[in-house]
């Protein structure tokens, strides 16, 4: 009994620490504080909702409690999000970004936005970085990898979406340059996932339409573009912007999103070499 309490406490501390590690850069980003009160509350709720779904998907695919039921999956995911909310609140207090003169709406907006990366970090730490996992995870299918890729894309792109740098990059880019960026992004993610051999993960080609390096890369890129556009819209970057500057910002943000998607796909791995998971 005591041992299980200690282990749970350790899991909790690991999740909290992982959340903080992932969340710190955004806790120090003033555009995120500003967007906490600039964005209408329903947009913050929408982003939290999307983040929650991604946490559920991520936990479902890579969770280490393989025997858990759907209810347990929901409870674990809720715990990760709640941990994000609590840590975001405490961290913003400690950083002096929430104090007695902060309005409820301002505080709620900031906590809501900052909770997202922390919740991702917490579920990442809980599922991927646990020391007690005895290897042998069964492989994941291509659709699941793309889904997890969406989570990585959101996590990485969230670091850039609120910043002014992205607007500058997107607005000045010419169509020709954007085409080059698209090509470079595809090559970069293709190389990252399939040829750089990170973590010694071997991939086995299957027969499905998504099970070829190029098709998976393209699918992940499409998802990354979608995530980039969603974030740009959520942070009000598409309001009153011309079509070309929206395209520019989306392509530039998708670079970061694709790298996030690639790293997330690497984390959950591919088929086992033996290919037992058909």
């Amino acid at each position: 009994m005591n041992e299980s309490l200690t282990e749970s406490a350790r899991d909790f501390i690991r999740a909290a620490a992982g959340g903080l590690v992932i969340g710190l850069p955004l806790l120090y980003t003033m555009e995120v504080w500003w967007h906490g009160f600039i964005l209408p509350p329903w947009k913050v709720l929408l982003l939290l909702g999307v983040a929650y779904l991604i946490v559920i998907a991520f936990n479902a695919i890579s969770g280490f409690r393989r025997e858990r039921t759907f209810t347990e999956l929901i409870v674990d995911s809720t715990a990760a999000l709640g941990l994000g909310v609590v840590i975001a609140f405490v961290a913003l207090l400690v950083l002096g970004q929430i104090d007695g003169s902060t309005s409820l709406r301002d505080a709620a907006g900031k906590v809501g936005l900052e909770a997202i990366p922390i919740a991702f970090g917490a579920s990442l730490a809980a599922t991927e970085l646990g020391g007690d996992e005895s290897g042998g995870r069964s492989g994941t299918g291509p659709f699941e990898r793309v889904l997890v890729g969406a989570g990585g894309a959101l996590l990485f792109a969230l670091n850039l979406a609120p910043t002014e740098e992205l607007v500058m990059l997107g607005i000045v880019a010419s169509p020709g340059l954007l085409i080059v960026v698209v090509g470079a992004t595809l090559l970069l993610t293709l190389a990252l996932v399939f040829y750089a051999d990170f973590g010694g993960r071997k991939r086995v080609k299957g027969d499905g339409p998504l099970e070829h390096p190029w098709s998976e890369t393209l699918a992940a890129y499409a998802v990354s573009l979608g995530v980039a556009l969603l974030l740009l819209w959520a942070f009000g970057r598409t309001d009153d912007a011309s079509g070309q500057s929206v395209a520019g910002m989306t392509v530039m943000l998708a670079v970061m999103a694709s790298v996030g998607a690639a790293i997330a796909r690497l984390l959950v791995g591919g088929h086992d070499e033996a290919g037992q998971d058909k």
Binding site: F37, P41, L48, T78, A79, G82, V86, L104, D106, A108
Partner: protein, 123 residues
Amino acid sequence: MKRNAVEWAVVIVALLSIALLVGVLVVEAFNGSRPPDPSIELRQSEAHQGTLGWIVPATVTNVGDQAAEAVVLEATATVEGEEETSELEVNFLPGGTEVEIAFSFSAAPTGEVTVRLVGYRVP
């Protein structure tokens, strides 16, 4: 999988904090549409002589719901028989939030200090 006391505590705190956050955001989503409305409260009693002038602390409050950006305020007072103005800009003023500022004059003003809102940007 059975959960122990630590796990239950985490889950309960998580649920409560999410409910609180979502509750506040939902309430704010429904009643948070008043335009920005900066107001000011001068604290003459705390005014004091500083190195570069007579400092009058004040609190700016946005009594509206929406945030205002680049809020420019102008204080006017009579100093040694002449009218003097002091202007300053508040970068961001979220709805319902207070920001501490201070106006400065060359010497202690005689009579009232009046403050005018020059303008702001809607972010």
